[in-house]
């Protein structure tokens, strides 16, 4: 399916509420959501994307260790042959207050396509994904 996405919370992070909301929002928007839930490793994201033929990974990190947990994911996707995989990440990516532009640049440099600040609206992610996948706008 052209609109399959893998959704999950990366690393040792067990914040489950946002994940449920994202699942609901992306499913309602017509995406085929493969939700691997909380406590998901990079390998689990990759395995899931391989089997399901997903086009994007929607990754959350809420507990402040996003940088360590996300580092190397793009490289692993390349190794696994997931060449054009779209990587989106959001949540509370780092601990405490940081200059957002700095955080964003860091994640873009790590190979993420889209990076969202704390409390970002899932609808923004959905609009961006439609653009990136060149899907028709809903009526």
């Amino acid at each position: 399916m052209t609109n399959t996405v893998v959704l999950g919370v990366i690393g040792a992070d067990c914040h489950a509420v946002g994940n449920k909301i994202l699942d609901y929002a992306f499913s309602k928007a017509g995406f085929n959501v493969v939700n691997i839930g909380v406590l998901s490793s990079q390998e689990e994201f990759i395995n899931a994307a391989e089997e399901t033929g997903a086009k994007a990974m929607i990754i959350s990190s809420l507990y402040g260790h996003g940088e360590i947990d996300c580092r190397g994911l793009r490289e692993k996707c390349d190794e696994a042959g997931l060449d054009d995989m779209l990587l989106y990440v959001g949540g509370n990516l780092v601990v405490g207050k940081h200059d957002w532009e700095e955080v964003k640049e860091k994640f873009l440099a790590m190979g993420f396509n889209r990076v969202y600040p704390p409390g970002a609206d899932p609808e923004q992610g959905i609009r961006d994904l439609r653009d990136d996948l060149k899907l028709p706008k809903p009526e």
Binding site: M1, T4, G11, A12, D13, C14, N32, V34, I36, G37, V38, L39, E44, N47, A48, E50, E51, T52, G53, A54, Y63, G64, H65
Partner: protein, 465 residues
Amino acid sequence: MNNYLLIDFGSTYTKLTAVDLNAEAILGTAKSYTTVETDIMTGYEAALVELKATLAAKGRPDLEFDRKLACSSAAGGLKMVAIGLVQELTAEAAKRAALGAGARVLQVFDHDLTRRDIEKIAALKPDMLLLAGGTDGGNQTCILHNAKRLAEAKLPVPIVVAGNKSAMDDIDDLFKEAELIYSMSDNVMPKLNVLNVDPAREEIREIFMQRITHAKGIHTATGMIDDILMPTPAAVLKAAELLSKGTDLEDGIGTLVMVDIGGATTDVYSICDGEPTQPGVTQKGLEEPFAKRTVEGDLGMRYSALSLKEAAGSKRIRAYLKDDLADVDAACRHRSLQPDMIPQSPEERHMDEAIAKAAVALSVERHAGCLESYYSPMGVVISQLGKDLGNAAAFIGTGGVLVASENPKAILQEGLYDQETPTSLRPKSPAFKLDQDYILSAMGLLSQDHPDTALRIMKRHIVTL
């Protein structure tokens, strides 16, 4: 008249069990040694003569059998190769489907098959292949690539296709064109981490009945047997499931774990959902089958005694023997060279018991799930991979070494949960039971027609230790 003859064509023995349905009783059992060299039907006839003698001695000389059903693990059993996409996902799902169908899984392949892989598969000489890959609507490129390779290779081996639904039509066309022997089944992993092994298992059994048994020298045409229903381990799994769950009329004994210690392998069966029993633990990974079978090809009492020694270590076996000087190596070597060895002295029996303890300890540890902990800033987060067997109500043992032992319970206890490795989710306080009359595979066969009777016979003959 309502008598059944149940036959188990084994790798070393052909075992017969005669059942009187009206009395719900086992009338007699017999077994005869079968070797690869001799015609397998000769062994069957020899055992039948023995059984008739037993029945005659019991005053039933002219007993006729209304149905004769068989299972078989003769000539190496059902040998399969499983193929999937990701090792932990569809390749694992395919492996589990094959194991649940009673197969011996020779090797599992993942991702794109190369020409070398095809050569390896041909050299392994499997009886059947199981081809999976991709969730429904998911990845098609891998399974299509592998199907093309297999179509080119034209191996004379039946293939069960159980992968991404979207690729099924193309594979069907490819295989038809290449004139392969194949059948299409449902995806073993239709959605991520969702396991669906029953349709593929049934398809494997169907092909086994129609094609494989014949090739292994068991022929039903002579009228000696009505049906060869399934591979022996599938019959055992069926019996275990029935014993656990019960029937509409008769209660089962609840969740259970079962260990079958053989000469070449140790098989472990668990019938339970295996969900976390401790609070705060999250289940991870591919869904677990309710009725699960694993096979340890390196753990066995005879053929695999040396590999068992490698896996367990001499020190561990010596510790079981409570003898620091025992020559474990020589004992295991002797057993592997003489697979039909029967212990004569107390020393030989003790050595067998120690080897069996290692087989139980390792096989149950490998079958059971485990806990993994992540350290987060506020403490430990725990996830579970595989099945938690902690609450299993019963722990059943089967196999010659247990029946011959004076203390089978002590052997089985090696499979229990252990404070020192709390991450291994083994049974905590099960009731120990023994299949003292070797009836499990026979009852699995009987359950096909008469589940209530098979269940009641098992409840009587599988004794609590």
